[in-house]
Structure formats: structure tokens, C-alpha cells
């Protein structure tokens, strides 16, 4: 059996990689890619805690499904915003998107 610690360390590493992407990429789409990695690492933790706790309590999997739905909503809105900004400003570099109104 795989110990619980392996899952947790794997998820922590994936979360850190995603955080590095969020903090250091210039392209707004790449920042959203990093956020996806972070959400996935959280889901690994939820599934692992479901499996290593009482498997008859489905809260871990239910919460992972809620995270799926929220991630889909977040990506849809985020990419729509990026495309809208690109259409009016001709840029997707996060540093250059610095106006509240155009």
C-alpha cells in the first residue's frame, strides 16, 4: 500500500509548482494554467483523505466534485476575461493590464 504521506507530499509539490507558475508567468493564460495545477493538487488531497479515512463517508469525493465545478466556472470566466481584454488592449501580459476602464 502507498502510505498517505506520499500522496500529501506529491500534492504539496504539485501545488508549489502551480504557485510558481502563477507568480512568475507573464501571460495571463499561463497564470490560469498554474491555477489549474493548484486546484488539481487540492483534489488529490481530498481523494486521498477520503480513501485513508472512512470510505463510507463520501464527503471527500463530494467536495472534489464541487471543486471540479468551481474550476470549470473559474476557467470559463477567466478565459472569457482574457479574450475580452485581448480584444480591446491587444495584450495578454498581466503586467500591462493595468487599467480599470478602457
Amino acid at each position: 500500500m502507498v502510505p498517505l504521506s506520499w500522496y500529501l507530499i506529491f500534492a504539496a509539490a504539485l501545488f508549489s509548482i502551480g504557485m510558481f507558475g502563477v507568480l512568475s508567468r507573464r501571460n495571463a493564460v499561463a497564470i490560469l494554467l498554474g491555477i489549474e495545477l493548484m486546484l488539481n493538487s487540492v483534489n488529490i488531497n481530498l481523494a486521498a483523505f477520503w480513501r485513508y479515512g472512512d470510505v463510507h463517508l463520501m464527503a471527500g469525493q463530494v467536495f472534489a466534485i464541487i471543486v471540479f465545478a468551481v474550476a470549470a466556472a473559474e476557467v470559463a470566466v477567466g478565459l472569457a476575461l482574457v479574450i475580452s481584454v485581448y480584444r480591446s488592449r491587444r495584450t495578454v501580459v498581466a503586467d500591462e493590464i493595468d487599467m480599470m476602464k478602457w
Binding site: M1, V2, P3, L4, S5, W6, L8, F10, A12, L14, F15, S16, I17, G18, M19, F20, G21, L23, S24, R25, R26, N27, V29, A30, L33, G34, E36, L37, N40, N43, I44, A47, W50, R51, Y52, V55, H56, M58, A59, Q61, V62, I65, I66, A71, A72, A73, V75, A76, V77, L79, A80, V82, I83, S84, Y86, R90, T91, V92, A94, D95
Partner: protein, 175 residues
């Protein structure tokens, strides 16, 4: 070391490598494809965890919908920074330090927790996790309210996304 552990280690390293490529590769289409690889690795992790429904949803929703949406967005916004110029901002080293510190902090925190070395109890024979999950999602004693809230959120987000991305200038608004 059992076969399950070997499979987990291989999948974990492939996933982490794909994740590193997602955040470091210059070509954004390649980054999106590496994201598909990382998501697939996570799906295999769900299979190892006996979370079969999550594995299928991961492939269908994440790889089938979200990653494809990313590739569309990359292609729609791909005129100005086509792989030239720096892809990292000038504070990227700060992000790297912060990421390493986060990992170190989480690792340190987990080392001090006694549930860390826990091994799973053997999976109950004949336990049908998928029907259990379906019952939990729709029973009033379970999680029907969060489930409905999530679906309302999804509808609101999709309507909002269409509204935000809609271009009134050359859109076919019936004018």
C-alpha cells in the same frame, strides 16, 4: 516495494515533470498539452486511490473540456507574444523562492503530524463507491444543497463568460 507503490512513484514523477514543463515551457500551446499530461497523471492517481468516478470525471471534464478551452484561448490570443520575449516576469526568482518555501513549510508541517504514516485500511469487498456517491449527492441528508449551489454557480459562470467574451461590435446581435 509493492507494484502499487512503483506505479504511484512513476505516475507522480511524470505528473510533476509535466507540471514543471507547464510552468516553464515557452510555447503556450505546448504548455497546454503538458497540462493534459499532468491532468492525466492525476487521473491515474485517482484510479490508484479507488476513486473511479473522479478519475472518469477528470478525463472528461478536465482533459476533454478545460484543457481544450485553454488551447482555444491560447490560439485566440496568440498574436503578440508568439514565444519571443521573456515568458517569465522579472520577479520570477521571488516566485521560485516562495514556491520552494511553501513546499518546505508544508513538508515540515506534515512531518509533525502523527497521521502521516497512516496506511489505508483494505478496500471493503463489494463496496460500490459510485452508487454511494450518487446517493450522497442527491439525498437531502447528504450533500444535495452544495450540489445544487455548484450547478447554479456553473450556469451563472457560463452565462457571465458568454456575456464577457461577446463582442458587440461585430457580433451578430440581430442588428
Amino acid at each position: 516495494m509493492t507494484g502499487e507503490q512503483i506505479v504511484f512513484l512513476v505516475v507522480a514523477f511524470v505528473t510533476l515533470f509535466a507540471g514543471l514543463m507547464v510552468v516553464t515551457t515557452r510555447n503556450l500551446v505546448h504548455a497546454a498539452l503538458w497540462l493534459v499530461a499532468a491532468l492525466f497523471g492525476v487521473a491515474v492517481t485517482y484510479v490508484i486511490l479507488h476513486a473511479n468516478f473522479l478519475a472518469v470525471v477528470q478525463v472528461v471534464v478536465y482533459i476533454g473540456a478545460i484543457a481544450i478551452l485553454f488551447i482555444f484561448a491560447v490560439m485566440l490570443t496568440r498574436r503578440d507574444m508568439r514565444d519571443q520575449g521573456p515568458q517569465m516576469n522579472k520577479n520570477w526568482w521571488f516566485g521560485a523562492v516562495l514556491a520552494v518555501l511553501t513546499f518546505g513549510g508544508l513538508y515540515f508541517l506534515l512531518q509533525g503530524w502523527e497521521g502521516m504514516t497512516k496506511t489505508a485500511t483494505s478496500y471493503p469487498v463489494g463496496f460500490d463507491a459510485i452508487s454511494e456517491l450518487g446517493n450522497a449527492l442527491v439525498s437531502p441528508a447528504g450533500y444535495v444543497l452544495p450540489f445544487e449551489v455548484a450547478s447554479v454557480l456553473l450556469v451563472a459562470a457560463l452565462v457571465g463568460a458568454v456575456y464577457v467574451a461577446f463582442n458587440p461590435r461585430n457580433g451578430n446581435s440581430g442588428k
